[in-house]
């Protein structure tokens, strides 16, 4: 499976910034000069050449450049959110599964509460709250409108989707002889978790990670679409889709381009997940629970 997302990082190739206006510029098409935005305000459609490859938007901004930069923002947020989910979810699952008893029931109940609410609703409420007033969490200060907001929110929301399956696995592993042997050999809990349990979680984590990544990108688009994610002038898939809907009468390309890009990213990520699953764990089931965390 080709990783279609990769070229999105190479957007240094773009000759113009994502917010640069070319309202009054002209391009030459088939020898005839043509305005980027026509005099009655309709932006140019696809030109199929290096400038304005798939057209411009109503401010004369190059759509391909905006889609590329938007993809970078969306993927960056998705990747950072995934990193946060992994950082929180794996230790939580290890602690809950290994210690059992009260620690386990406390953590599991907490995860259940988050899990019982839809990811989009939790994300939307959290992001709106922080966007309203900013947040001061210890040394970290988050300004309203910061890109950290969607990252933190999305990262937190998906913790249960990773921690729940991992916790079940840890509980099963804990009873196995090699873990008992490690304990008998005098390893402390942290050492057992790190050297005995963690390597066994690698398969599940590797298979879940691209699916969570895809979900994070989709959730980011939905949040940005609803105005609770990336703030508007900066492009992201959600922002571009909203722009496209607003301008669909004269410029359908504005909606089609980000939609196609988003679908390609999601398809390549789920393809990656499927490939990893086949390679690592051919008999395992498709993990549908995660697919639904939107």
């Amino acid at each position: 499976m080709a990783f279609l997302a990769a070229p999105l990082y190479a957007d240094v190739v773009a000759g113009t910034g994502p917010s640069d206006n070319h309202v009054t510029d002209q391009v030459t098409i088939a020898g005839e000069p043509e305005y980027v935005v026509s005099l009655d305000g309709v932006p140019i459609g696809p030109t199929w050449r290096s400038e304005f490859l798939i057209g411009a938007d109503e401010n004369g901004r190059d759509l391909m450049v905006r889609v590329l930069y938007g993809g970078r923002t969306s993927l960056l947020i998705g990747a950072a959110a995934l990193a946060l989910t992994l950082l929180l979810g794996v230790p939580i699952a290890l602690a809950a599964g290994y210690f059992g008893g009260r620690t386990d029931s406390l953590i599991s109940r907490l995860l259940d509460v988050i899990w019982s609410f839809p990811a989009l609703l939790v994300g939307f409420l959290l992001a709106s709250a922080v966007n309203l007033s900013g947040a001061d969490i210890g040394p970290v200060t988050i300004e309203p409108g910061s890109k950290l907001i969607p990252i933190v929110v999305i990262g937190l929301v998906y913790v249960p989707y990773l921690a729940r399956p991992l916790r079940g696995e840890v509980r099963a592993l804990r009873e196995r002889p090699f873990v008992e042997a490690a304990r008998a050999a005098g390893f402390g809990p942290v050492a057992v978790m790190r050297s005995e349990l963690l390597p066994h979680l690698l398969t599940t984590t590797l298979v879940l990670a691209p699916l969570l990544f895809a979900n994070a990108v989709v959730l980011e688009s939905a949040l940005s679409f609803l105005g609770a994610g990336v703030p508007a002038p900066e492009p992201s898939f959600g922002v571009l889709i909203e722009d496209g809907i607003d301008n669909t009468i004269f410029s359908p390309h504005l909606l089609l381009a980000p939609c196609v890009a988003l679908v390609l990213v999601v398809l390549s990520l789920s393809g990656l997940a499927e490939g990893l699953r086949r390679a690592l764990d051919p008999r395992g089931p498709v993990n549908v629970e995660v697919v639904h965390g939107q």
């Binding site: 609410f117 309203l132 939905a222 988003l262 639904h292």
Partner: protein, 320 residues
């Protein structure tokens, strides 16, 4: 069964309570909100407006007192807004049927399509029909509802006269108009889920079909139809039913939000996005809590129904 239902509802109440606490802390008592903001929207006011706002909303009272007062007004529906917002509770209850129509319809369509396709796959197992359906289903669940809804609205609803661009007609007033308003949103919401359900049901069917007691049923000389219907299907549907239940309760605060915004359906999703856009804090808290209550109740009801269908789920521990 009754004991299970009582326990499940108790857990639902506890969850709703936790959610209300979180909403209160997030939206009401985060310290760096300027009280004058509470009266005049985003503009920072003078000391005078600050004092008026502090008194009007009782911001000097201890937090638990504020919490109880706020929750009371939210449950009665008479939340004080900065702008004119009428009775939040009745507005929410008016919007709820729209969302429930959208979500229930989409869930039913996704289940029917997923189940039908899975049965086809099993009948033609290993042949080209099976492979085509499996591939199409995998593609379907990679399509985000957001993209589907946006494209369907822009290229079908907006460009043809068959479907309205926005609005809603109640089912009781005009069933045909109701369906006409909802067909495209249903498709946008149901397609990814149909693909996912197809995979779950297919896997479950194949696993069940390999069980010993299915072979026994065949050996008894039962017809193939009867074996599939009475023995395979009934047992194979247990895992998917749980997923359907979870998805249904999640849909209310999930895709309903943006599908309603795109198709202009006046449900709770559109209401949420409008209220949050207004930066009017008290109704925002109210709406967050109403949504939490609906989601929690829906998932409790769904759990009770699935437990009624499958007694094995009535274990003392609610979730493993």
């Amino acid at each position: 069964m009754i004991a299970f239902a009582a326990r499940r509802l108790g857990w639902a109440l506890a969850t709703a309570f936790i959610a209300s606490l979180v909403a209160f802390v997030l939206f009401w008592s985060i310290p760096n909100v300027d009280p004058s903001y509470w009266l005049g929207g985003a503009e920072k006011g003078t000391n005078e407006t600050r004092a008026i706002a502090t008194e009007k909303y009782g911001l000097d009272d201890p937090l638990p007192v504020q919490y109880v007062r706020l929750m009371k007004s939210i449950l009665n529906g008479d939340v004080e807004c900065f702008y004119n917002c009428g009775n939040m509770r009745s507005a929410f209850l008016d919007a709820l049927p729209v969302t429930l129509s959208l979500v229930a319809g989409a869930t039913l369509i996704a289940i029917a399509a997923g189940l039908g396709l899975a049965l086809l796959c099993v009948r033609y197992q290993g042949r080209w029909q099976d492979r085509v359906i499996t591939t199409v289903a995998a593609a379907a669940y990679s399509l985000p509802s957001l993209v589907l809804a946006a494209l369907l609205w822009a290229f079908v609803a907006y460009r043809s006269d068959l479907f309205p661009n926005e609005g809603y007609v109640p089912l009781t007033a005009d069933p045909l108009g109701w369906a006409q308003h909802l067909v495209l949103p249903w498709i946008a919401a149901a397609l990814p889920f149909a693909g996912a359900y197809m995979h779950v049901v297919r896997a479950s069917l194949l696993q069940t079909a390999g069980e010993d007691w299915v072979r026994t049923a065949r050996a008894k000389g039962l017809s193939e139809k009867r074996v599939i219907r009475r023995h395979v299907l009934r047992n194979a549907l247990i895992p998917p039913v749980n997923i359907w239940g979870l998805d249904f309760s999640h849909a209310i605060g999930g895709y309903a939000l943006y599908v309603e915004v795109i198709f202009g359906l006046p449900g709770v999703g559109l209401m949420t996005s409008e209220t949050f856009g207004s930066l009017d804090l008290p109704p925002i808290v109210a709406l967050a809590i109403y949504l939490a209550i609906v989601v929690v109740l829906a998932s409790a009801i769904v759990d009770i129904i699935t437990a009624w269908l499958d007694p094995r789920l009535r274990r003392p521990s609610l979730r493993t």
